[in-house]
Amino acid sequence: MKKLYRIARALVLLALLSPLGLAWLPPDRLPLRLEPAFQAVLQSSFRQLSITLAATLALAALLTVVLGYASVLWQRFGRTGASILKAVESVPAILVALFCYAPVSGYLARHSSGASQTVSLLVFILAATLTLLPEAVRGVAIPLGDLYHRKYSLSFRSYGFTKRRILAVLMGSHVMRGTLKRIAAGILLKTLVLDCSFGFIIQLGFGSYGTPAHASPGALIAANRDALFEGGTPALFWLPSLLLVAISTSFLLTLGEREEAAA
């Protein structure tokens, strides 16, 4: 019964995440028929979102593991790093993203679409990683430090293992693998929220000149915000919104279940 529940749950999560996969299908193979121009922009925005999520996850997860491991290995490095990350954390994420984007907006407007898209993506990934790191590194360093000070780590030490080696073994433990999965879900959720909020705000503030390079679903929703007014087509606003709700729900459910299991 429990296995059946797990399979059903995995299928539901997969269905909720499907917009990210469907965005890569050829337009004629999609189950939904939409106005071609809107469908193209919708697919392009979710394709861009999936790239942003994957790239941010790769960079942020790598840095998180390295910094988390190093923080426990070298206490002084850990304390200094924690103070710096705490300072970064005290600045609202949207402000960090806006500040990172503002300086390159001139470059984005001047250069070709391809170059501009790459720079925009890189800037956003850096900004998102910067805002995600404090909580993620803390999420690795605290349980890793706890594990290191437990009894069985002490016995490792009695065998003459170095701290570096013990921490490497502990990083592969069941507890740490669960922690890393939870951190990955958190990184994805926060990147999704930041990417879309940022796209929406930029589109709202800068209009059609604002996001030629940042084709986020948030920007698409902002571009179609007038669809809610009388005479508009509300589906243009609601369809990308509902797809975002589905993707976010899958991340939230993943995070929620793990937390409840831990309690």
Binding site: S90, F99, L189, G205, A222, S241, T249
Partner: protein
Amino acid sequence: MRFIRFLARELLIHGVLFTVAGTAILSLLYLLSIGAPPESFARTGQSFLLLLSGSRDFSIDHPGFSAGQIIASGAAVTLPLALASLLLLTVVALFASAFATTARYLAGKHGQFGAEALKRSTGLLASVLAAVPLFVGFWVLANGFGSQAPFLLIAISTILLGGLAWDATRFLMSDMLRQVESTHATVFTTLGRPLGGLFPLPGTFSGYLFSSSLPRFIPYLAGKVPAIIGAVTIGEIVFSFPGLGSTLLEALLATNTDLLVASVFILLCVNAVVAFIVKSFLFLIYPRWYEKAL
């Protein structure tokens, strides 16, 4: 002595120093990355000093926004919205956690699964609400009310949509649920006190569990202040309120460095004020926990 150390750390280091240094670093990075000429650095620095001194001559190059006006926009819109959101966030987390712990206790000890089932379905609803992007909710509100939307409604949307309330509830709930099966909680239930299913009032079962979780919950709230300020900034931009969010976007649009620096500074000040209020609570209620958290 402890109080002086608290003030020195929170007011001077985390408040004044972080805010001034944060603004200076962000401004420096901004000027460097736009390739501003050397005289711009000096002019921006001078402007920043004028802002700090509250001078009327602030931003002579870009008249229309005095230091006082920018501070007033933060005080009138951003600060009350942030404080209202923080208060609501706390109330929602307390209510949901009290209900969840009571439901778990009733299911575990008395075999009554009604409350637990209600908790699960409410949790699912809360997850879906949290998954709704904040800006979508704000735009729907703005569509109905325009820029006349009541502050309370905006504060409710700020915490219910976008995941703030979901995350806070999850944090407090899991902390309290971990204690439901513990020996001290079991002993407390033998005293015949009310369960406190709707709110963790003192003397109730949920209130007893909450008193143990409070020292961890307050630092959590302090850590969420930047997220609340960020959400409020988005709200101000969507509703076109004359707050710091709109001023910031306006500054970015006009590449007005003085205004940008001033907006960031005031935004970080609001952030520091709200965080200071929360940390003061922790210090006043649990001074030892505050010291331990350092």
